[in-house]
Subunit: 603 residues, 2 copies
Amino acid sequence: MKLKRLLIGRPMKSHELAEEKLSKLKALAVLSSDALSSVAYGTEQILLVLVTVGAAALWYSLPISIAVLGLLTILILSYRQTIYAYPMGGGAYIVAKDNLGVPFGLVAGGSLLVDYILTVAVSSSAGTDAITSAFPSLHGHRVFISLFMIIVITLLNLRGITESASILMYPVYLFVLAVFLLIIGGAVQYMAGNIHATPPAIGTVVSGMSLFLLLKAFSSGCSALTGVEAVSNAIPNFMAPAEKNAAKTLVIMGGILGAMFIGISLLAYGFGIAPKPNETVVSQIASATFGRGIIYYFIQAVTALILFLAANTAFAAFPLLAFMLASDRFMPNMFMVRGDRLGFSNGIIVLGVLSGLLIIASKGETESLIPLYAVGVFIPFTLSQAGMMKRWIVKKPSGWIVPFLINTVGMLTTLTITLIFLITKFSQVWMIFLFLPAVIFIFKKINQHYHALADELRLDIDHEKPSKKGSVIVIPVGGITQVVRNTISYAQSLSDNIIAVYVGFDDESLHRMEKRWDEWNPGVRLIVLRSHYRSIVKPLTKFIDTVEWKTAETDHVTIMIPYFVTRHWWQNLLHNQTSLFLRAYLFAKENVKIAMVPYYLKK
Amino acid sequence: MKLKRLLIGRPMKSHELAEEKLSKLKALAVLSSDALSSVAYGTEQILLVLVTVGAAALWYSLPISIAVLGLLTILILSYRQTIYAYPMGGGAYIVAKDNLGVPFGLVAGGSLLVDYILTVAVSSSAGTDAITSAFPSLHGHRVFISLFMIIVITLLNLRGITESASILMYPVYLFVLAVFLLIIGGAVQYMAGNIHATPPAIGTVVSGMSLFLLLKAFSSGCSALTGVEAVSNAIPNFMAPAEKNAAKTLVIMGGILGAMFIGISLLAYGFGIAPKPNETVVSQIASATFGRGIIYYFIQAVTALILFLAANTAFAAFPLLAFMLASDRFMPNMFMVRGDRLGFSNGIIVLGVLSGLLIIASKGETESLIPLYAVGVFIPFTLSQAGMMKRWIVKKPSGWIVPFLINTVGMLTTLTITLIFLITKFSQVWMIFLFLPAVIFIFKKINQHYHALADELRLDIDHEKPSKKGSVIVIPVGGITQVVRNTISYAQSLSDNIIAVYVGFDDESLHRMEKRWDEWNPGVRLIVLRSHYRSIVKPLTKFIDTVEWKTAETDHVTIMIPYFVTRHWWQNLLHNQTSLFLRAYLFAKENVKIAMVPYYLKK
């Protein structure tokens, strides 16, 4: 308990929730690390596909990057519209459910949930790769490092979002600073003529280049766009006016992301860089620009850090989405409970545990999951845009044509990209066809259970009053002691119909007990039972069955089990805990109530 | 449960206990393996000490062996007297307690208990050594093999003693057969003049020989006598007439043991054998007699087996001793409970677990524990003889002088050996001075607890009747559902004084609940509480404290917690288990009774 306080902090009152809201600056830090970190590998993903047909094809990266930038613009514009349309948080789940119906909402919500788990696993192992590249001796501890990072991020999030935002602001802004430093430095070097590279001429015709490859390169570049939906999911976390602040944050993030991405793509082209197996494109640009000095290591370190923090975006988004799904009764109630620090602790913990398990299961090698993760983002993108289209058509507010067109273009583009992913990388993304139906099946089952439960527990307050019944109390006794006296006294305060039962192993003990009971005469009749198997449970359950069979119609049957509570836990080792055994055996009886009646020892 | 049946067998009725009794032949198998197995190393222990001053000193083994044989005779005679004096089982604990008082009894009982644990650990790792000597590739799995053997023996004993006796008879008698085969074969070879050895002449004076060394060699040889007390502890396990059968079994065992021991010692001398680090003395005699053929391997295999089975003696004796100590309230009650198969299951399991832990802690290397184990036997030997002496003096039956003298000689001899052990092997046995006081301290503490408890629970049946009190029932409710209706109906069958309590997080929910409750009008008043911390436990406990403070003098306070039971366990994941949390929080309240009132879901 003290450890919990130390790690997580004091509990907070509900009305402190308002103070937990995010300013634009903090929101950018919490919600953009996933999106911004993608520039660390976006350009490289494009070049990796192009280089398969030869270095001359690398010039295609420029038009592809511009196409990705165009897509980014469309996404930002259409999500901006979503924010204003759904100021309470317009994730793909809400938008799709509201406009296209529950099944589409569940598809969007399900793929996002799976996706957030993948985000955490992929980002934390990518960050670990960056660390182990710098310190190869740590390579054997990759799983351990990834898990450690996930635990740290989980604890930060359990402390509450603003506190983690304060910590997370620095690396995010340092990363932005580092990338712009790199782009400006690189541009200066290039213009000063210090770079002696011969990039392939733009427009060169390359044999072997196909539309399929171009589309594959484009879709790979789109992995730089994962994470832009985070802002629209998290509007309730913003300070008032939430939607305005969220929209501004989204646009700022889009601007920074676009500038960094196109800057790196241009430099990669201008520097004539081809992807290498053991050095990242960003690292190549940085070492060409600054040499392997302090600035180079600063850039590399901050890049590694931002990859870790990308996981944090999922920690902000997953619990909120789980809350929404739980509110609609597609996920367990527990995701609706706010913890001591007002975060949705259960969502945070579940995300931490599941992504940790994924790390362990994949032994920390999660690279092959990246395409799966990308397609898991573009499915909800598409559904969200389609939902917005439907909304414009149905509502038709004044001037709805332009936003409708924006969403239409967005829908068509993201749909196309989803299809390109499915076609060009089927071998890596087929699992989505297992995951999604499974998750949606579970959602449906949970929903059915809650509805069936609600039906069963519902009460007609006009006609269903508590029914009047009598009562019979059965007390198993092991002798005549203070413990038994205490229980009988308690039972007598509740009912006049009390039966004490004694189980003995031989006739002598039964007679002795009956005689002493008569002498004591506590006002309760005693029934004695003989046991052949040294078990007191069997004759007792048989007796209780008889009582139940005779009286359950008219009476509530209660078994009161007398027991004593020792002052120290170790003293329990000295007693046979018959009372606990009895309770465990009798617990399964539906029509019988069990009451444990404790007697507290003084010594 | 099915696994338990398979491993242990069907439960047995109490009256089947008589059929579980041992015949002499079976008793010898169960109770003598510890004693008989000692001949596998007894002679060797003597030679190991003598050889430190030179091969010429080895002749001393003959007089020493004869002295050990004399001691064995004394022990057998005096234990035979004990059997007739204590037909209900006259272990050292009983004899010392009865005649010398409880503290001496506890010293004897405590050292025997510790000793039985050592027996199991030492024997099973000695048996493992024999196996791994034959199959060196298994050497890395010594701890695993030892633990496996302990588990097998534990399960055999949980099945019941006669069944394990049936299984154990063969190896014990095969071992006896093998040793006599060896002795006779060796004697024939020796007389036929086939052995060309030059043993040191009897009477040779050896420089460096000291009384200290002689005593050390003698005490080492006495390790061959461990285990002879087993019969006198286990008299209640014998068929009627128990004491006669036990006495006969003891004498037979003594005869076999003595013959085997002196035979091996004579052959060792006649064959001129000196101890070798990697071959046992028995193995040397066997290979000199029969060569390394099938008979040699038979002897070795049976020797290994008997060492394992020595552990079984402790499994017969430990639970009985624990039962006696528990009957006298020096050990926990659980050692008095007979299991499904009529054995004292708890004693068997505790012995298995503790010796297993000892194996793990010592990594299977228990050789250094052998002297500790020997001294742990001779302390109760001494106390038992002293107790018998006292008994003769006090009772003075006709012809008491001779038995008194036998016990006196026995007491003096075993006391001397104990002292020799303490002096010559202090570095290996000092732990007994830690163990014994600790065990006795625990005995005393347990005894105090039981007496204090009995005082506290004792009831004056003439004057202490159950006190009459009123009753108040508090029901925490979360809404108006069938679950709540069920609980209220139950409460109304027990008391007229019922309070329902609702905890809400905002005023609106409180008002709504109050309104609906009035509409429902179940005949129970409702109290609403407002919570600031999203915790329903805190306001509730505060309220209950108030109720308790106001009414505990006159009323029994009951908290009835409504809850529902789902049809399938996994459905519990979908609910917040508030009822279980409440129960856990309220459990510590001394003056409040908690009743869980289940509502069983149909779907």
